[in-house]
């Protein structure tokens, strides 16, 4: 019996005279053929049954965004998986070349939209390296608070949607309830729930209002109870363990070679955390642990992210205790806006305000790349400046993009339902992958 692939729909027939699938040369968009392939050799049928090619997405509840996975199945087992991305490609990097540095901050919210304020911080740190300025101590601590809050927010969404994919709906509601609390805090601070645009080059958009730290402390006090609740429900649950243990294993060497970072890499046993190894914002002065797994499977990734949330609460506690007084923004009128009261009363401040808003601050010629530990992995903004107010090149190093490229390796040999679990464990955000 000859093997056939059951295809859903085909524009070119791709079948020869006997009805067997044959290789079709791929035509590239500039008219040339990409690869020349010889016809396949005669195959002895050594497998019973046919392989099926199915398509998951791009519109699908469990793909966490617009991701398309084409799976070749032998029964229920995945033989090969080919991911297609680009369904959310919005030209971020192109637009960055036509916007000033402070304007680009609005775009950084939207790439990894679960970690908006963390992306703002990543970009601001890169821009400040490019400008060669040091931010104030208060700004550093506020940015640490922002990063850790957004880490908790992102992990809560991941947890909620991961639970839904496996089949547990309630932790999603608990997670989003906590997220609403963080939304309220952030809204009091910067005015927006999700797309925050909280940082500026040289400081923050606004200082925290009075009484905000009490709200933060209240959150720090009550959040661990929710985590304990979810922990009780999931971690030792037979169904949960049965559906996640042993799936999608990546060995440490493979994980490093595939460029994985963040909880994906740490679950495989490599303790690379940008906050510890290439620190920024004085992270080396905070006392926190980095959870590392030893099995490299989906269950370990869940445990690593869960523990990271607890460690984030620890960092938040320390940051809340050490928040110093002082200005949030640096005192350089060529780079950052003067306070409104001065801008409306002093002539020089008004001129500085005008120039910063209309022309934008101009960095010296150079380039910079500051990597941050986003909830997904190593994230950084590589920017190249030619001395003008708009960067020559703005490149986002997307952690989910590189993490997702390993999915064909991870799902090989697993069942179809495991594909969904493994996909969910990567914690992808299509906004960051496609930019």
């Amino acid at each position: 019996m000859s093997k056939r692939t059951i295809e859903v729909e085909l524009s070119t027939s791709g079948l020869d005279a006997q009805g067997r699938a044959q290789r079709v040369p791929l035509v590239t968009n500039d008219g040339g053929t990409a690869v020349a392939i010889e016809p396949p050799p005669a195959l002895e049928p050594d497998i019973e049954g046919e392989h099926m090619l199915i398509n998951i997405g791009p519109q699908h509840p469990a793909t966490h965004g617009v991701l398309r996975l084409v799976l070749e199945l032998d029964g229920e087992t995945v033989v090969r998986c080919i991911p297609h991305i680009g369904y959310l490609h919005c030209g971020f990097e192109k637009i960055g070349e036509y916007r000033q540095y402070n304007q680009i901050i609005c775009w950084t919210d939207r790439e990894d939209y679960l970690n908006s304020i963390g992306n703002n911080v990543t970009f601001a740190l890169g821009a400040e390296r490019l400008f060669g300025i040091e931010i104030t101590e208060r700004c550093k601590v506020l940015r640490v608070i922002a990063c850790e809050l957004s880490r908790i927010m992102s992990h809560l969404v991941w947890l909620g949607t991961f639970c839904i994919d496996i089949g547990a709906f309630t932790p999603f509601l608990w997670a989003f309830q906590r997220r609403e609390e963080i939304y309220r805090l952030i809204e009091k601070w910067v005015g927006a729930r999700l797309t925050t645009s909280a940082t500026r080059v040289g400081g923050m958009a606004a200082d925290v209002p009075s009484g905000w730290m009490d709200g933060l402390r209240q959150f720090i006090r009550t959040f661990p109870h929710t985590m304990d609740e979810i922990d009780r429900v999931l971690t030792k649950n037979a169904i949960w363990v049965g559906r996640t243990v042993g799936l999608g294993v990546m060995t440490p060497e493979e994980a490093i070679n595939y460029g994985l970072s963040g909880p994906m890499l740490r679950a495989s046993g490599v303790d690379y955390d940008v906050r510890k190894d290439f620190p920024y914002l004085d992270y080396e002065t905070y006392d926190f642990d980095v959870p590392v797994g030893t099995n490299g499977d989906v269950y370990d990734r869940y445990l690593v992210r869960f523990e990271e949330m607890r460690q984030s609460v620890r960092i938040l506690q320390q940051a809340a205790d050490r928040l110093p007084d002082g200005p949030v923004n640096i005192d350089d009128p060529r780079i950052i806006l003067p306070p409104k009261s001065k801008a409306t009363s002093e002539m020089e401040s008004m001129i500085h305000h005008f120039k910063v808003v209309m022309e934008g601050p101009r960095p010296p010629i150079g380039e910079s790349y500051v990597a941050n530990e986003s909830p997904k992995g190593e994230k950084g903004s590589y920017m190249v400046s030619d001395g003008t107010a708009k960067p020559v090149r703005w490149r986002i190093r997307p952690p989910s993009f590189v993490n997702l490229a390993a999915i064909p390796k991870m799902v090989e040999g697993h069942l179809l339902s495991d594909v969904i679990a493994i996909n969910a464990s990567i914690d992808i955000v299509m906004g960051e992958i496609d930019r």
Partner: protein
Amino acid sequence: MTRFEVVRTGASASGGQPATQKNIPHRGAEANPSAKALQEKFRTAVTRVEVIWGETVAYIDPTAVHEAIRWLHDDPSQRYDFLSDVTAVEYRDAGVPIEVVWHLRSLPYRRFLRIKSQLEKGAPLEIDSVYDIYRAADWLERECYDMFGIRFTGHPDLRRLLMWESYKEGYPLRKDFPLRGRFSRSEQLRQALAQNPEARYSMEELTIADAFAELPQDMRERLNTGERTGE
């Protein structure tokens, strides 16, 4: 089930606990020792070494860059095992060549190195792929091809990644590509709606059934005996 040994970052690094860099000078900060080792090993192929804002950048000839990166990966005193990024930069000045940029990290030594290679714009934009050294280069190089049109020789499957395969407008991140694209909005929409995505499987997908014979022997055996992982 196997348990992995924890791989500690910075196991070979000297200098204790790393700290946040402060007050970094624009130029002239201490260079990454790998740059000097690269210059000693590859001499004229390394055209320039700069340290900008504390980051070491080594400019290497396009013909020698694959060998240099292979050496950086394999040599026990360098061990750049983590490829962070592959991207390209085109400058606004038309005469300046396009630069292909690699960001490498050495996790054992806790080092960061940027390698650049310059491609003249008049000639076809081609450079060696580092797919055989780092699997992370797979999609990173495909995206670079999609956005800039740079061909990476040796990459097994260089297709467009972010735009659809029959995208005709060009390479978006080139400076001669206008922000809103070359065609009018209705024409862009017409072309987009014509790219019936499900009917066009890639060559790889069409040939999967025939490629069963090319899967590794042990994998074929495992799938044939019905072995499933995870239990």
